[in-house]
Amino acid sequence: MDQSLLSTVGDKLKTQFGNGIISSEMIADFPVFIVNRDVIDEVVKFLYHDETLAFQYLTTLAGLHYPDNKGHELGVMYQLHNLQKNHRIRLKVFFSIQDPVVPSITSTFSGANWMERQEFDFYGIIFKGHPNLKRILNVDDMNYHPMRKEYPLEDATREDKDDRMFGR
């Protein structure tokens, strides 16, 4: 099922968006499409409204950070679900950490509102067109994005811990 799903969805996306779809492959049993970030909102909208595809449920959305992937350090992963046929696909976009802007998909999925706020909070990804892009989980006056890998996990204000003994 999954291999055929990869080609049906892939073919439809290719004819609709052409170069907007960068690559498609199976990762384990999951069809994964890497999409140009400029068209991601259009791709999600197309997958939602197309009658045969009908990916009308956004399972999750997550930020990604690969510091060694120069020029494409940051990313967003979207996982979509067709509830009638139980088809699931994954979309990914990658972009530079210098320019962490990606179009918001809140016009298609209202549920993406808080998810995008979370990824803004933790990765500093700016979702263009988001109605209320501000921190959601961390304190409002936090001045960095803690899930980016250049920041240590530990609280920076501790002075009583010796790094040699606490593996910092």
């Binding site: 996990l153 530990e154 501790r158």
Partner: protein, 185 residues
């Protein structure tokens, strides 16, 4: 009839003073201190597993009621003792501080467990590394979580403080200085 002999039931003894037939004289500090120490109204600010251990402390086996702290106050305005039990996230910090500020004098704070005392295992960007960063603390109870015996010991330490403190601690320069350090009016 219970088998406990009446002579074995311990009650709070009177504070040191001068006693004679028909009268007893002591200082008001000592009398008030004794009364306060044996009628604490704790406010349980329980956020995680230490709160569960506190429930065991309140229940019949350990029974905090024996120490006069039977009545929990869920309003900070009527509480004497703020018991902070559990991890305090940085986002919870201002809430905890407001609860402390709403308490009337005299007030005491007890930090129960590793998280409330120092952040515990949660040495991370989202967790407050000890509540003493935002409010003054009188007694710390170590443990993860502490056993009810330790909580009782912590309460008894608080009682000792309450008994021996001057009646208007809030007027002392040390106390004012302490609050000023935390920017609390």
């Amino acid at each position: 009839m219970s088998k406990i002999e009446k002579s074995k039931i311990e009650v709070v003894s009177s504070p040191p003073g001068i006693e004679g037939p028909g009268f007893f004289a002591t200082s008001i500090d000592k009398a008030v201190g004794m009364a306060r120490a044996n009628s604490l109204w704790p406010l349980p600010f329980a956020t995680s597993c230490c709160g569960i251990e506190f429930m065991a402390t309140m229940a019949s086996t350990y029974d905090l009621g024996r120490f006069g702290a039977e009545r929990l106050s869920f309003s900070p305005r009527q509480a004497d003792l703020l018991m902070v039990m559990g991890t305090i996230a940085k986002k919870m910090g201002p809430v905890l501080r407001q609860v402390y500020e709403q308490m009337a004098e005299p007030r005491w704070v007890l930090a129960m467990g590793a998280c409330a005392s120092s952040g515990g295992i949660f040495d991370t960007y989202s967790v407050l590394q000890g509540i003493d960063r935002i409010i003054p603390v009188d007694v710390y109870i170590p443990g993860c979580p502490p056993r009810p015996e330790q909580v009782l010991d912590g309460i008894m330490q608080i009682q000792k403080l309450v008994e021996t403190e001057s009646i208007r601690r809030r007027d002392t320069p040390e106390y004012k200085q302490l609050l000023a350090k935390y920017n609390i009016e």
